[in-house]
Symmetry: none
Subunit: 405 residues, 2 copies
């Protein structure tokens, strides 16, 4: 928090545009089993030209060796020390924010799955056959109509994609110190909601009553006759980016989770598609509305999670092709990086530092000639923690005053 | 402590073996006066092959510019922030642990030298002619028999090597806030034990009485007629490695101090010789008993302290020859580094970053081709604090869960 306050105190306004392009999970490895990273494999003339004209460096997401989830990974990129408990954003909150829901700091949120149980109440499908989104909407409307208020708790049920929904509860003194009801296995009953600490005891009983009522309404459903709840949480009190840095922040991300993190940090979330050309199409008409643009491309991570190195390289090449459209907007500062590495070899997020590329009139032009992990080791930007990137972006955008006389 | 707790909360079990080979004081310098480091001078085909197959980096022991003693140097390698007062391990405790003594957190320990004083009580030899270890054992037994309890303080005297011994005192309310009695010069009397703070005042008088009694028992000795005490200390409350990281830690070190630090951190200390082949011979039969192996080679530091660059390079070459024996055990993760630099040019420990070598299936294969300080600058592992190494070892050993969703 100290780092944040320090930087915030130096922030000043300027007539500059900063673009942070996040290629989710773009970092990769070179090992005996996978001699090339996705960036090595990809042909990227535009990214390479940026490396020639700018500088490379690397980001350690949280701490050396620590693999972040997407939430902490992005919090770091937005300048927060995600290892501080103050900045812990629960899954319920992320999901609700990602759906664009506006709820206050008092609301208790949770992610829900519709699920199927047999006549004995034991789970036979934790996702209710992955029902279509349309069906999910019908079920949520049914619940929302039938259940209004239980034991002083107001109930709101909002549909997500497929079998997913969000539960928003409002009432006096609701605590988020609750355990999940998803047993993470079949052949057993959903777990009762319980208190994760003393603070949660009174709330647990009330939420259990809510869930019981939801189950009654769903009793006649052939598939979606249960709900499984996870990630009970309330909006954390995160210092808002606009207040911290005196800029207007716009988030352009095609997936709910990233929109959720951005919204929790105070960015305005703008609807957009999932490919960079669509993202840039959404940015273009809003270019005058923001000073800082967070652009998110998910498919690098998805290909990494699939273990498909070639597909990951293809996504990078697609990004590279659409880069001129972004450059045509003439951002003063452009940074390209990721929230974490997702080596195709590992089919998972990892701790490996993420290559970082920056271009701007005051970026030291180093000797790097291509955007890849190997060259990034010898880039002028060095090895930073992700949360330190914000200071560099502000500085290169002429948005930080001198510290001290 | 926060870093430690954060990492600990992510630690998970895995079926992997991690080896940390510490070449004490291996780091060295290149200067006008000494154009090659010991690693430059040494011919090390096996270490170089590891560099080719793995990655290099560097460790800053405590803070840039800070030269650590062996205790803090190793605490850093074991993941602790040695600059925190909580982790201050006194010399008495280190010596006692190094001798394999089992004493509780209540015992007050100190290192002792047998010394010689003339008829006026002035010191003529601070090491009593470096008496043989056999003689030391006789003297300690004599003291231990003759002195049992003084002013409510139970007295235990344990022999070390040559003129060294350890004093262990037990009793109500003993404080470690005491000054040394070794005046560090000849021709003067031993210093009286004094309180280093208000807390130590009551204890100082009682310990002074103990020492007076010891001197009475030694009065008829021709050489060892005095004791000089240093490093009064009690076992600090250090979070134990096994609890922190859910691994079984084995320490293989030939010298008491390193065994002492390892034991204070919760490692099981295994008897072994002082050369790497002997150390590996001790590791081999215990390979199934531990998950993390701390292996210590002292002679690099000793040669550095002697200012003998060639001897230091010879030790490195000897280590290199015995490396295949270690590799034959097939550790999943192998790290080779030092606890600090001991440049031959300086004949002393220094603050210079220490080269780090890591090999494992998920180690990013960088462009380095030899294990030396110069190449380490451009290694993929970058410049870490020593205390950050533990997270990297755990991560590469698949022993850290993802942080956040």
């Amino acid at each position: 928090m100290r780092h944040l306050r320090f930087l915030s105190a130096l922030a000043r306004e300027a007539d500059t545009k900063i673009v942070l392009l996040v290629l989710d999970g773009v970092g990769d490895v070179r090992t005996a089993a996978q001699p090339q990273s996705a960036l090595d494999l990809a042909t990227t003339p535009n990214l390479d030209a940026l490396a020639v004209a700018g500088a490379l460096g690397r980001l350690t997401p949280i701490l050396p060796g620590v693999t972040p989830g997407s939430g902490p990974g992005h919090l770091g990129l937005f300048g927060y020390d995600a290892s501080e408990p103050d900045f812990d954003i629960g899954r319920g909150v992320l999901e609700a924010l990602g759906l664009g829901l506006d709820f206050g700091p008092e609301a208790l949120t949770a992610r829900g799955n519709f699920a199927t149980a047999d006549d004995d109440g034991n789970l036979t499908d934790r996702r209710a056959g992955r029902i279509p989104t349309e069906e999910c909407r019908r079920l949520c409307a049914k619940l929302d109509d039938a259940v209004d208020r239980v034991e002083g708790v107001t109930v709101q049920v909002e549909p997500g994609e497929s079998h997913r929904f969000v539960l928003i509860l409002r009432g006096e003194g609701l605590s988020a110190e609750l355990t999940d009801t998803d047993p993470q296995q079949l052949g057993v009953r959903p777990l009762p909601v319980a208190a994760a600490s003393l603070n949660g005891e009174a709330t647990a009983a009330r939420v259990a009553a809510v869930i019981e009522r939801l189950h009654k309404v769903l009793a006649d459903e052939p598939r979606a006759n249960r709900v499984l709840m996870r990630g009970f949480s309330k909006l954390p009190d995160i210092p808002q980016l606009g207040d911290l840095y005196r800029m207007r922040f716009g988030a352009f991300a095609g997936y709910p989770l990233y929109r959720g993190v951005a919204a929790a940090c105070g960015m305005e979330v703008v609807e957009c598609g999932k490919h960079l050309d669509e993202v840039v199409d959404a940015v273009r008409p809003r270019w005058q509305d923001f000073d800082f643009f967070f652009l998110h491309v998910k498919q690098t991570d998805a290909a990494g999670e699939d273990g498909n190195l070639r597909a990951k390289a293809d996504v990078v090449e697609e990004v590279d092709r659409h880069l001129p459209g972004l450059l045509a907007l003439e951002p003063d500062v452009l940074a390209v990086t990721g929230d974490h590495s997702t080596p195709a070899l590992m089919k998972a997020h990892s701790w490996h530092p993420i290559p970082l590329l920056m271009r701007g009139p005051l970026v030291f032009v180093d000797d790097t000639t291509a955007f890849d992990e190997g060259q990034a080791v010898r880039g002028h930007l060095g090895l930073l923690r992700s949360r330190e990137l914000m200071g560099m972006l502000l500085a290169h955008g002429d948005r930080l005053a001198k510290f001290g006389a």
